[in-house]
């Protein structure tokens, strides 16, 4: 086992220790690949590889965000006529109908959460790349929030699935639109992006 050269037992070099995301054990940061001393999982790979993976997933997600908003997420078929709703269209319709809280929830979950995730991850990648001076604690908190809010964006996709089952009459039908697949894929890739981010990139 690796031993640190630290002689005074009361001072611990925080920078050289990392948390295992699987078993929460404290591990020495070897600056490259780390296999956790407790769960023996490969918990950190090369920082550069993880940097590029995060970036690649992020770009994929950002590209998918366009069809997710341009294509209808939900189509209403009523007496032979089709009415297509994009995410923004759906929010506006809800707002006009007076369902303000639901309109706000969807606006937050489907529009703001993905944008915030893109911004937060890009910010973390940029600060790590250019060694910008910024609070480590704040950056860790930012990343924690990014991970925590990631799944909220699925709300609209789930709602479409629920409505497609319930509104399934001969006179009126709700069917999912192409936007639903793009949206689900976008959420999937933003989650992959956050999961492949190496928190040691913050420590620099």
């Amino acid at each position: 086992m690796k031993r640190s050269t630290e002689s005074t037992p009361n001072r611990y070099p925080t920078e050289k220790l990392v948390r295992c995301p699987i078993c929460e054990a404290v591990n020495y940061d070897t600056q490259s690949i780390i296999r956790c001393r407790r769960c023996k999982e490969l918990i950190y790979k090369h920082k550069q590889i993880s940097y590029h993976k995060t970036l690649a997933f992020l770009i994929t997600a950002a590209i998918l965000y366009i069809p997710a908003n341009v294509y209808p997420i939900l189509i209403t078929r009523q007496l032979g006529t089709l009415q297509e709703n994009t995410i923004l269209g759906g929010i506006i319709a809800l707002w006009e109908a007076g369902s303000y809280p639901v309109a706000l929830i969807i606006l937050l979950a489907s529009v703001f959460v993905p944008i915030l995730k893109f911004l937060f991850i890009s910010y973390l990648l940029i600060t790590s790349k250019y060694n910008m001076k910024s609070s480590k604690v704040d950056q860790h908190k930012l990343f924690y929030i990014t991970e925590a809010i990631g799944s909220w964006s699925m709300v609209d996709v789930f709602v479409v699935a629920i409505l497609s089952v319930l509104i399934h009459f001969s006179s009126i039908q709700i069917i999912p639109g192409t936007g639903a697949t793009a949206f689900a894929l976008m959420v999937f890739f933003t989650m992959l992006s956050a999961l492949s981010f190496d928190i040691r990139l913050i420590k620099h």
């Binding site: 925080t14 999982e41 909220w152 009459f169 009126i172 689900a184 913050i202």
Partner: protein, 209 residues
């Protein structure tokens, strides 16, 4: 500092500040100096209570999957929602990716997490199969970010509000049991600490070996 001394430390999951662990009295918790996040707890009888909660949650989850969640009525025609119907409708409309995602995120993963937790706690209780216990611990940690039953519940509520003006909505057994699953799940996640489980794992199986 030798490696095993690292066990005396814990890093806050939110702000990544290093803390030295101190012994806790029963039913108390330690919070992070900087961000007030709970970093570890000391629960009396962690195993038996968590096991009971997890078994109840699993039964109720299966109930939620098997029974109707909502029923609506438009002009005398009823239409019901259950978990399987959502999956089927997505496939009928050829939305395979969304269908598969739904199946995994709101059905399969929560089911695997709960049943693995139960199996793990039972095996640890009887001090059996250390390798399997270890794989289960790792599996659960990896699946937790991909379980979306809480988001799914919010989606049900949003869908209900959207339908409220047009139709009468009746909540069914599946809906009630699903709320119970969420509450139990919340209690389990609040109680269970991976750090604690791993420390127990090491203690239990080192004695046997």
């Amino acid at each position: 500092m030798p490696s095993h001394e690292l066990d005396n430390f814990i890093i806050c999951k939110k702000c990544h500040t290093l803390h030295k662990k101190v012994p806790l009295a029963h039913d108390t918790k330690a919070v992070c100096r900087y961000c007030d996040t709970v970093i570890y707890r000391n629960h009396r009888d962690l195993f038996n209570t968590t096991l009971a909660l997890a078994i109840t949650a699993l039964i109720l989850l299966i109930v939620s999957f098997s029974f109707t969640i909502l029923t609506i009525n438009i002009k005398g025609v009823n239409q019901s929602l259950n978990f399987a119907s959502m999956f089927i409708v997505m496939f009928e409309h050829h939305y395979y990716f969304v269908g598969i995602m739904l199946g995994f995120l709101v059905m399969l993963f929560p089911l695997i997490i709960l049943s693995s937790t139960i199996l793990l706690l039972i095996l640890m209780k009887y001090r059996k199969y250390p390798y399997l216990v270890k794989r289960l611990l790792i599996l659960i940690a990896k699946l937790i970010p991909w379980s979306m039953i809480d988001i799914f519940f919010i989606s049900i509520l949003v869908a209900m509000v959207k339908l409220f003006d047009f139709t009468q909505i009746d909540v069914d057994v599946g809906f009630i049991s699903f709320i119970a699953v969420l509450l139990l799940d919340f209690m389990i996640i609040k109680r269970i600490s991976f750090n604690e489980l791993w420390i127990n794992y090491e203690e239990i199986y080192r004695i046997n070996a």
